[in-house]
Structures are given as C-alpha cells and as structure tokens.
C-alpha cells in the first residue's frame, strides 16, 4: 500500500511543468474581452483600426477551445497590445516571427512590430510578410526586418552587437483580397521563436 501511494505521488509530481521560455512577444488570442458598447467578443488589447466594418473577428480555429483572429478584406488592419514588459537581447539585429495561421490562396499576412531600444530609447519598425498555407498545419517562420540598418541609428544592434529591446506596438493586415486566420504568434530573437515545447515526459 505504501508503494502504491508513493507511486501516485510520483505521478502527480511528474505533471508539474517547469517554467517555459520567456518570449519577446507571444499572443494566443485566448483572453477575450467584451466590448461594452457592441457586446462583441474580441481578444483583449486588439482593435480594428482600418478596413471594412466587421473585417476583423474572433473565431474558432481547429477546435471550439482554440481561437484566433480573422482578417478579411483588403485594407483591414488590427493593432495589438505591447509586449508585456518583456525584453530580449537581439544577437543579429533582427527578430523572427513564428505564426500559426492559414490564409486563402493568394493572400498574405503582413506583420509590423515597433521595437524600442530600452537603453537608448531609439525605436524602429520591423516588417515581414507571411504566406501561410490555406490549411492548418505547421507554423510559418518569417523574418521581421527594418528599413534602417540597426547600427546606424535605428535600434542599435547588428551582428557585432546586441540590443535590449521591447515591442511597443504590433499590427496585422492582409494583402491579396482574401482572408487570413491567425491563431498563435511568437516573436523573438533569430532562432528562438520556434520551441522548445514541453516534452510529454517533462517534469519527471
């Protein structure tokens, strides 16, 4: 009986995960807020700032428990919250986006992230275009790059330096006339946006 009880305790202990990695930016669109004026459910901190009315909506994706944001129509733009007071050291002066999304054939998802150097205050906008499949499956990796060379007065950094940055603003829009659904986004330093995900044996 004592052995059985210790086995049960061991099983319980195995299910307590360690803390996961801290991201520069992560959004899963699962926290929902209700607009008091319209009663519509939207992901907290997200709002449509351009495009036709109803161009952005909160939808189920692969399961009733998984949600995302749907952008439809050329010119539909949504803006999201800042990056939760997290900072990241950029080793290569660029950032990487890993997005779980699907888009209609011929439609692209455009992501713009406003990064600010925490130490100098300098800011810069990093952009990238993603062309996800029209079916849910693996995520898509996109490089977000700036128009300005980072060592030249934009956000400091580059291949020979590093910068402590924070994402102050993020926007999504579609290009191509169709619709895109975005379920999950991670932005981090190059090579760090993908994984690691917890192993089924994690914690044992």
């Amino acid at each position: 009986m004592r052995w059985l009880l210790w086995s049960c305790l061991g099983l319980l202990a195995c299910r307590e995960l360690p803390e996961g990695p801290t991201r520069l930016y992560e959004e899963s669109f699962e926290d929902v807020c209700v607009d008091e004026s319209t009663g519509a459910e939207t992901p907290c901190g997200w709002s449509q700032i351009a495009g036709p009315e109803g161009g952005a909506s909160w939808v189920d994706t692969i399961h009733p428990g998984e949600h995302g944001i749907r952008l439809a129509g050329e010119g539909t733009i949504v803006r999201g919250p800042a990056g939760m007071e997290r900072t990241s050291v950029l080793r290569f002066g660029a950032v990487e986006l890993y997005v779980s999304a699907r888009c209609d054939v011929g439609t692209q998802l455009i992501v713009e992230a406003g990064l600010r150097d925490v130490e100098t205050g300098a800011s810069d906008t990093f952009r990238g275009r993603a062309t996800p499949s029209d079916e849910w499956g693996n995520g898509t990796i996109v490089a977000l790059v700036s128009d300005f060379a980072l060592v030249d007065g934009g956000v400091s950094g580059g291949m020979f330096g590093s910068a402590n940055v924070r994402i102050d603003i993020l926007s999504l829009r579609v290009s191509g006339g169709g619709a895109c659904e975005v379920d999950h986004m991670i932005i981090d330093d190059v090579g760090l946006a993908v994984g690691p995900n917890p192993d089924a044996d994690e914690g044992c």
Binding site: H63, Y98, H184, P198, A200
Partner: protein
C-alpha cells in the same frame, strides 16, 4: 529503481506460482490437498490422475481446464500502452505551443467465447488517454473508448503456456479537450498481433498481448490524428 525492484519481484513471483501450479496441478484443480484421510493414491479419481503417456492427452485428468469440454468463456482484464505516431493534428498543436503527444495509456476488458478448441471469439472494451502539455495552459487531452469484435487463435505447446494470434476491429468515440472545451469524434480501430499466456494457478492465467493498432481519423478541420501505433498489453485471464 524502486519500480524496477518491484517489477523483478513480480516476475519472480509469477514464475514461482507457475512452477507451483505445475507440480500441484491435479491436487488443486480436483480440490484435493495434502489431507492424510484422502491420499491422492487412495481416491478412485487418483488412479485416473496417474500421468498417462504424453500422447493420450484426452484421457489425462491432470490437464488444465482449457482442455475441459465445459470451458466456454474467457474473461480478461489488463493495462495497455501505445507508442504515439505523430500526424497533422500534432503538428497543428505544436505550432500553438503544445508539446509532443504522450503515449496512450489505458485499460482493456474482454469476454471471449471458446468456439473451437483453438479459436475464441468475443468482444473487447478499451479506454485510452493521451495528452499534449503546454507551458502556460492546461494540457490538451484525448480520451477514447472502443468496442471491438475480437478473434484469437491459440495453441498450447505445453500445459502452462499458450501462444496465439489475435485480431480485433471496431468503433470508438474520442473526446478531445482543449482549453476546457470538448469535441467528440467517432473513430474506427483495427489491431492485430501475437499473444502469450501462461497459467498462474487454477483457472487464472497471465496474458501479454502485442499489437499494431490502426486508428487514424480526422479530429477537426481536415486535421488527421493517428491514435494507433505499437501497443503492449499485460493482464490476466480467467476461464469459466
């Protein structure tokens, strides 16, 4: 290490019980003990219990119950584990921060009818559970139950061991849970593989079944999940 120690003790106990059952087989089944008032040699049945030549097994009363014409039913219960095979569904979860799929852990209960000396037919009911961990959310889970029509064919190389093949097929329900929401899906399952039993005592046998499970179906949005794979089942079987 402690689990390994108990596993070794369990295996040794099974072997010891099997050996004890082999040497005292006739006295246990017939209900005779070491009672001096009823020595085995003095009872009329004892004469029949003297070991006949190995060829005339039909006349040997020390044969185990499986050879008895009255044995009709086999009841089994066991635990099973299935190694995961990743598919579209697992890729979609991974892109949302979920980890790799766990093995499926479950239980299996069976009722088989002995149609012929070597063929058994019946039903199995199985339940399985699988999960995908996430750093910040509750784990995604899948709980499934199956009802399977089962056949197995066995031979008995000796009085203790049995070897055979089994095949099962049927339907089940899978309940997939993500962030507190559930979705039900019907899935078919087919499994084939070898089985091995050995007598513990009386009508009780230990059973090991290996199988390849085929259970692949669409869980949501054209995303297919493979809920089958190589399965290991260990349990007990009782004959009536």
């Amino acid at each position: 290490m402690r689990a390994m120690r108990w596993l070794i003790v369990w295996i040794l106990w099974i072997h010891a019980a099997a050996a004890a059952a082999q040497t005292s087989d006739s006295s246990f089944d017939e209900g005779f003990g070491d009672d001096p008032d009823f020595p085995v040699e003095a009872a009329p049945q004892a004469t029949d219990a003297e070991t006949p030549p190995a060829d005339s097994e039909d006349e040997d009363p020390t044969l185990e119950v499986v050879e008895d014409e009255d044995t009709s039913w086999l009841f089994s219960v066991g635990a099973l584990v299935t190694a995961p095979i990743e598919d579209d569904w697992d890729d979609a979860l991974a892109s949302r921060g979920y980890g790799n799929p766990s093995p499926s852990y479950g239980a299996d209960v069976g009722v088989l009818y002995r149609a012929t000396r070597w063929l058994n037919v019946g039903l199995r009911l199985a339940a399985r559970h699988r999960y995908w961990l996430h750093w910040e959310r509750p784990a995604a889970t899948l709980f499934g139950t199956d009802v399977l029509l089962s056949l197995d064919a066995r031979i008995s190389p000796g009085r203790v061991f049995q070897l055979g093949l089994h095949a099962s097929g049927g339907l089940g329900l899978a309940s997939v849970s993500l962030n507190g929401e559930r979705k039900l899906r019907a899935l078919g399952r087919v499994q084939v593989g070898p089985l091995f039993t050995f007598k513990l005592t009386g009508t009780l046998r230990a059973m090991v079944r290996l199988a390849y499970d085929h259970a692949r179906g669409e869980l949501a949005n054209d995303l297919r999940a493979n809920l089958g794979g190589f399965t290991f089942m260990v349990g007990f079987e009782v004959r009536e």
